[in-house]
C-alpha cells in the first residue's frame, strides 16, 4: 500500500519528536532547588510511617527528626548535645537526677505551647507495651521504665519522670548514665501531641491517621506538606518552630531510593543533592574525579560474623581464633571494598567518644594454621564443614565469597555460603539456627557501652552463646560506678580484652558512611552517627565559584 504524507503533515510530527527529546533535559532539580532553597534528599526505602513511637528505620528517622525535635539535639559537627525543646538541664551530683528546663518559646506546629506534661504523657505512650515501640529500651535508664515496659509495673506514676511545673521536667535515673542526654535526641523519646492523637483513637492505637498530612502536628523545624506514597515526601520550613530564624532551608523533599544504582544515576543527572549510599564499584570512579562529590567518613558501626559457640566445631576457642587470624582484612578492604572501610579487630569502633579498643591480633596465617592443628584439624583434615549465613545483599555476598576463598587458601577448609532472604535470616539468627552469621551493629548513641553490652549474658542481641559473669560484672556494675572517664574506659578496655580473647565473633570492618553530596550543600558535615540536623543545612547558589 502506498502512503502519501506531505511535508505539512510531517512537520508537526517532527516538532513533537524534537519537543519530546528536548523535554528530557530541562532544568535539573538541583539547580531549581538551589534557587528555591529546597533540598532534594535521597532517603533509601519508603518510610513505614511517621509516628516517633512506632518507626524503627533510618529513612524514617530523617523525616521524623525534621518534623519533631527532642529535649536535646546533637550538634552535627561535634555530636555534643545542644538545647532542643529544653533550653538547659541540670544533672545532680550523683548523676541520677536530671532536670530539664523547657524553652517557653517551644511550640507545636498548631500553636500550642509545649509543656512538661507533654513529655510525661508521651513517655508513657512510648513505654506502654501495647504500643509495640521497638525502641522503648532507649528510656530504660529511667527508673522503673523497664518494669513498666515489660508489664511488670502497672502504675506509670512510679516511673521516674515527673512534671514539676509547666516547663520543668524531672527525670530519675536508675544509675548515673553519662550518655543519657544523647538519648534525648533519639526519636523514640520525642514528645507527641496528645490532643491530635486522641482525636483519632486511643493513645496506643497503631492504625490511626494522625500522621497524615492534614492531621499531623509536630514541634520540629519543618512541617509536613505532602506525602505521596513511594514517590516523595515534602516538608516545609515551620513558622512556629522556636529556632526558626536559624533555619536556612525553605523545604526538603525526601525521595524513596531503594535501588542504589538508580539513586546514583539520579544524583549524576542532577535530580538529587544527596544520596544515602553509593554502589561499591562506583567508589573508584568518584574518587578519581576532581572536586569529587563522594564523601567518606567513619560511622559508628561494626560489621562482624557471629559465631554460635554452642555448635561444633566452634565451641573450641582455638578454631574461632584460627578463623579470625586467617583472614586478611586489609586486603579485603583494599580490593573488594575499594578501601571504603576500616578493618576491625574488636567490637567497638575506634575513637568512640575517645575510646580505643584493644587490638589483640592481626593477619597471621602461620599462627592460624597452628591453632587449627592444635584443635584437631591439621591442614584442614577432618574438618566437618562450616556454614556462613547472610542476608541477600550484593556487598554481603562479595565479602562472603572473598573470605570463603581466604579460608580455603590459608587453612584448607570448606566454608559453605547460605544466602537467606532478610526475614528468614533474622529468624535464623534469632533462633540461633546458624553456625556463622553475618551481622552489623550500628550504635544508637556515642558510647562504648552501646557495643559492649551486646555480649552480656542476657543481651537480646548477643546471638553467640557467649556468657561470662566477669564480663557482665565489668559492664553492668563496675563501669557505671567509675568516677572518671579514664577509669570507665579502662574497665571497658579490660572487658573488651576478655571478650576478644574468647572471640565469640569475627570482627571484619568498621563502617564508614558513604554519600554523594552535591557541592552546593553546606553545613551538612559527616559525623560518627551520620546524624542529620537539617536546621544547619543551607544551599549555596555560588558553589561553583567556591570550587
Amino acid at each position: 500500500m502506498r502512503l502519501h504524507f506531505s511535508a505539512r503533515q510531517l512537520l508537526p510530527i517532527f516538532c513533537l519528536c524534537i519537543t519530546l527529546v528536548a523535554c528530557g533535559s530541562g532544568e535539573s532539580r538541583v539547580v531549581q532547588g538551589n534557587r528555591d532553597g529546597i533540598l532534594h534528599y535521597g532517603n533509601g526505602t519508603e518510610p513505614q510511617g511517621l509516628d516517633p513511637h512506632i518507626v524503627t528505620g533510618l529513612p524514617e528517622s530523617h523525616i521524623v527528626r525534621a518534623l519533631f525535635e527532642g529535649l536535646a539535639v546533637k550538634n552535627p559537627f561535634t555530636l555534643e548535645p545542644e538545647p532542643g525543646v529544653a533550653q538547659s538541664w541540670d544533672i545532680s551530683e550523683d548523676g541520677r537526677t536530671v532536670t530539664f528546663h523547657l524553652n517557653p518559646q517551644a511550640r507545636w506546629s498548631n500553636g500550642d505551647t509545649m509543656t512538661a506534661d507533654d513529655y510525661v504523657w508521651s513517655w508513657r505512650r512510648a513505654l506502654n507495651p501495647a504500643m509495640g515501640n521497638q525502641y522503648a529500651y532507649m528510656l530504660y535508664p529511667v527508673e522503673n521504665a523497664e518494669a513498666f515496659a515489660t508489664g511488670k509495673l502497672e502504675d506509670f506514676a512510679e516511673v521516674g519522670v515527673k512534671a514539676l511545673d509547666q516547663h520543668t521536667l524531672q527525670v530519675q535515673l536508675v544509675t548515673a548514665t553519662p550518655y543519657f542526654i544523647q538519648l534525648m535526641d533519639h526519636y523514640s523519646t520525642f514528645a507527641v501531641h496528645r490532643p491530635t492523637i486522641e482525636k483519632f483513637g486511643k493513645a496506643t492505637d497503631r492504625f490511626t491517621p494522625w500522621t497524615r498530612v492534614e492531621n499531623i502536628v509536630g514541634n520540629g523545624a519543618f512541617t509536613l506538606t505532602e506525602w505521596k506514597l513511594n514517590r516523595r515526601i515534602r516538608v516545609e520550613k515551620s513558622d512556629t518552630y522556636w529556632d526558626r530564624d536559624r533555619v536556612r532551608l525553605n523545604g526538603v523533599v525526601f525521595y524513596p531510593t531503594e535501588n542504589i544504582s538508580s539513586e546514583e544515576r539520579m544524583f549524576r543527572v542532577g535530580q538529587l543533592h544527596y544520596t544515602q549510599t553509593i554502589p561499591l564499584d562506583k567508589i573508584p570512579v568518584y574518587r578519581a574525579m576532581e572536586n569529587s562529590s563522594y564523601v567518606n567518613a567513619p560511622y559508628l558501626g561494626t560489621y562482624y560474623y557471629l559465631l554460635n559457640i554452642n555448635k561444633a566445631p566452634l565451641q573450641d576457642v582455638r578454631v574461632r581464633r584460627a578463623l579470625s587470624l586467617a583472614i586478611d582484612r586489609a586486603r579485603l578492604n583494599n580490593t573488594v571494598l575499594h578501601a571504603a572501610n576500616v578493618p576491625a579487630y574488636g567490637i567497638t569502633p575506634p575513637g568512640t567518644l575517645g575510646y580505643q579498643p584493644p587490638k589483640l591480633f592481626g593477619h597471621d596465617v602461620a599462627a592460624a594454621r597452628e591453632l587449627l592443628a592444635d584443635a584437631g584439624f591439621p591442614n584442614g583434615e577432618g574438618w566437618p564443614g562450616l556454614e556462613l549465613t547472610y542476608n541477600t545483599s550484593e556487598s554481603h555476598r562479595k565479602i562472603a565469597v572473598a573470605l570463603q576463598q581466604m579460608w580455603k587458601d590459608a587453612l584448607n577448609i570448606e566454608v559453605t555460603l547460605s544466602n537467606q532472604e532478610w526475614k528468614v535470616y533474622l529468624d535464623s539468627v534469632d533462633q540461633m539456627n546458624f553456625q556463622m552469621a553475618r551481622r552489623g551493629w550500628i550504635g544508637d548513641y556515642v558510647d562504648p557501652n552501646n557495643f559492649l553490652d551486646l555480649f552480656l549474658c542476657a543481651g537480646g542481641n548477643n546471638n553467640t552463646g557467649f556468657c561470662d559473669p566477669q564480663y557482665d560484672d565489668m559492664i553492668t556494675r563496675q563501669a557505671p560506678r567509675a568516677r572518671s572517664r579514664e577509669e570507665r574506659y579502662a574497665i571497658f578496655y579490660a572487658a573488651e580484652t576478655l571478650l576478644m580473647e574468647q572471640m565469640p565473633f569475627i570482627p571484619i570492618y568498621t563502617y564508614t558512611s558513604n554519600h554523594l553530596i552535591h557541592p552546593s550543600v553546606r553545613d551538612m558535615p559527616s559525623n560518627l552517627m551520620d546524624s542529620l540536623n537539617l536546621k544547619y543545612v543551607w544551599l549555596d547558589q555560588d558553589w561553583e565559584a567556591a570550587q
Binding site: 564499584d281 562506583k282 586486603r331 573488594v336 562479595k398 572473598a402 576463598q405 544466602n419 532472604e421
Partner: protein
C-alpha cells in the same frame, strides 16, 4: 521403459515418513538450522566444561579484580578476579540444566494429564480440565515468588516450581491432539482389538501427537530459562556459589558502566541460546505443519 525409469518410479513410490518430510523442510529453514547448530555447540560445551574450562571455577585473584578481555582471560574477569569465560561455562551448565529438566518435568506431567483427559473424555475430562483452567487463572509469577520466599531456595524446588507453571499449556495441547486422534480409525481398530487404554495411549496416541509436543517443548525451554533468570535477578533462584546466566546478568547489570563485559557476555550467551531455541521451535512448527491449537 528403461531400467532407470523403473528405478525412478520405484523410488518415487517408496514413500517417505512424516519425520523424513519434516526433516527435509527443516533443512531448508536456515535460521532453524543455525539455531540447531548453536544449541548443539552450547550443549556440548556445557557437558564437557569440567574438562575444558581454562580456570578453576572458584579461582580468585583479588589483586587483579575486574579486568577486561585479555590474552589470559578471553572474556575478562569479575570483581574477584575469577575468569568470566569459566563462569559463563559453568553458569551455562546450570541454566541449560534448569531449562531442560524443568521442561521435562512439565512435559511429563502435562502430556500424561492431557492424554488421560483427552482419551477418557466425559466426566473425567471435565474435572481434569477444570483444574487446569483454575490453575491457569492463577497469577503464577506471584505464587512462585511467594513459594521461593517461603520455602527457601533449593534447586529441586526451583525445578518443581517452574515445571509446575509450564505444564498447563502442554496438557491443553496434548488433550486436544488426543481428542482428534481418538476419532481416527486406527485407534478404533486398536480398541476393537482389545488393547488396554494404557497401551493405546502409549503406543498409538502419543507417538502421533508428538509433533506439537516437540514444538512446544522447544518453545517452553526458553521461557523456563527466562523465568530462572528472572528469579535469580530477584535473588530467589540459583544461589551462590552456584551460578547461572541469570545470576551473572544480574551482577553484571549492577556494574555495567564500570565493567560492561560482565553484563554483555553472559547476556550474549543467554540471548543467543534463546534465539536458537526459538528459531528451532519455529522451524519445527513450520516443518511439522503444526498450527497453534486452542481447545
Amino acid at each position: 521403459m528403461s531400467d532407470a525409469s523403473i528405478t525412478d518410479i520405484a523410488q518415487a513410490e517408496q514413500g517417505t515418513s512424516l519425520w523424513h518430510d519434516a526433516w527435509l523442510r527443516l533443512r531448508r529453514n536456515r535460521l532453524a538450522l543455525f539455531g540447531l547448530g548453536v544449541l548443539v555447540l552450547f550443549i556440548t560445551i556445557a557437558l564437557i566444561t569440567p574438562w575444558i574450562a581454562p580456570y578453576g571455577y572458584a579461582e580468585q585473584n583479588l589483586d587483579l579484580g575486574a579486568s577486561g578481555p585479555s590474552a589470559a582471560h578471553w572474556l575478562g574477569t569479575d570483581i574477584f578476579g575469577r575468569d568470566l569465560l569459566t563462569q559463563i561455562m559453568y553458569g551455562g551448565r546450570v541454566s541449560l540444566a534448569v531449562g531442560f529438566i524443568a521442561t521435562a518435568v512439565a512435559l511429563l506431567i502435562g502430556v500424561t494429564w492431557g492424554a488421560v483427559a483427552g482419551y477418557a473424555g466425559g466426566r473425567v475430562d471435565a474435572v481434569m480440565m477444570r483444574l487446569v483452567d483454575i490453575l491457569y487463572a492463577l497469577p503464577f509469577m506471584i505464587f512462585i515468588v511467594l513459594l521461593m520466599v517461603v520455602f527457601g531456595r533449593n534447586l529441586l524446588l526451583l525445578f518443581l516450581a517452574i515445571g509446575a507453571v509450564e505444564w498447563l499449556t502442554m496438557a491443553r495441547i496434548m488433550r486436544s491432539q488426543v481428542q482428534t486422534l481418538r476419532q481416527q480409525e486406527f485407534v478404533e481398530a486398536a480398541v476393537s482389538l482389545g488393547l488396554s487404554p494404557t497401551t493405546i495411549i502409549r503406543r498409538h496416541v502419543i507417538p502421533n501427537a508428538l509433533g506439537p509436543i516437540i514444538v512446544y517443548t522447544t518453545l517452553t525451554i526458553p521461557s523456563v530459562m527466562l523465568l530462572e533468570a528472572f528469579l535469580s535477578f530477584l535473588g530467589l533462584g540459583i544461589q551462590p556459589p552456584q551460578t547461572s546466566w541469570g545470576l551473572l546478568i544480574s551482577y553484571g547489570a549492577e556494574t555495567m558502566e564500570e565493567y560492561p563485559w560482565l553484563l554483555l557476555f553472559p547476556g550474549l550467551a543467554l540471548t543467543l541460546t534463546l534465539f536458537s531455541l526459538n528459531f528451532l521451535g519455529d522451524g519445527l512448527r513450520d516443518a511439522l505443519d503444526v498450527r497453534g491449537s486452542r481447545d
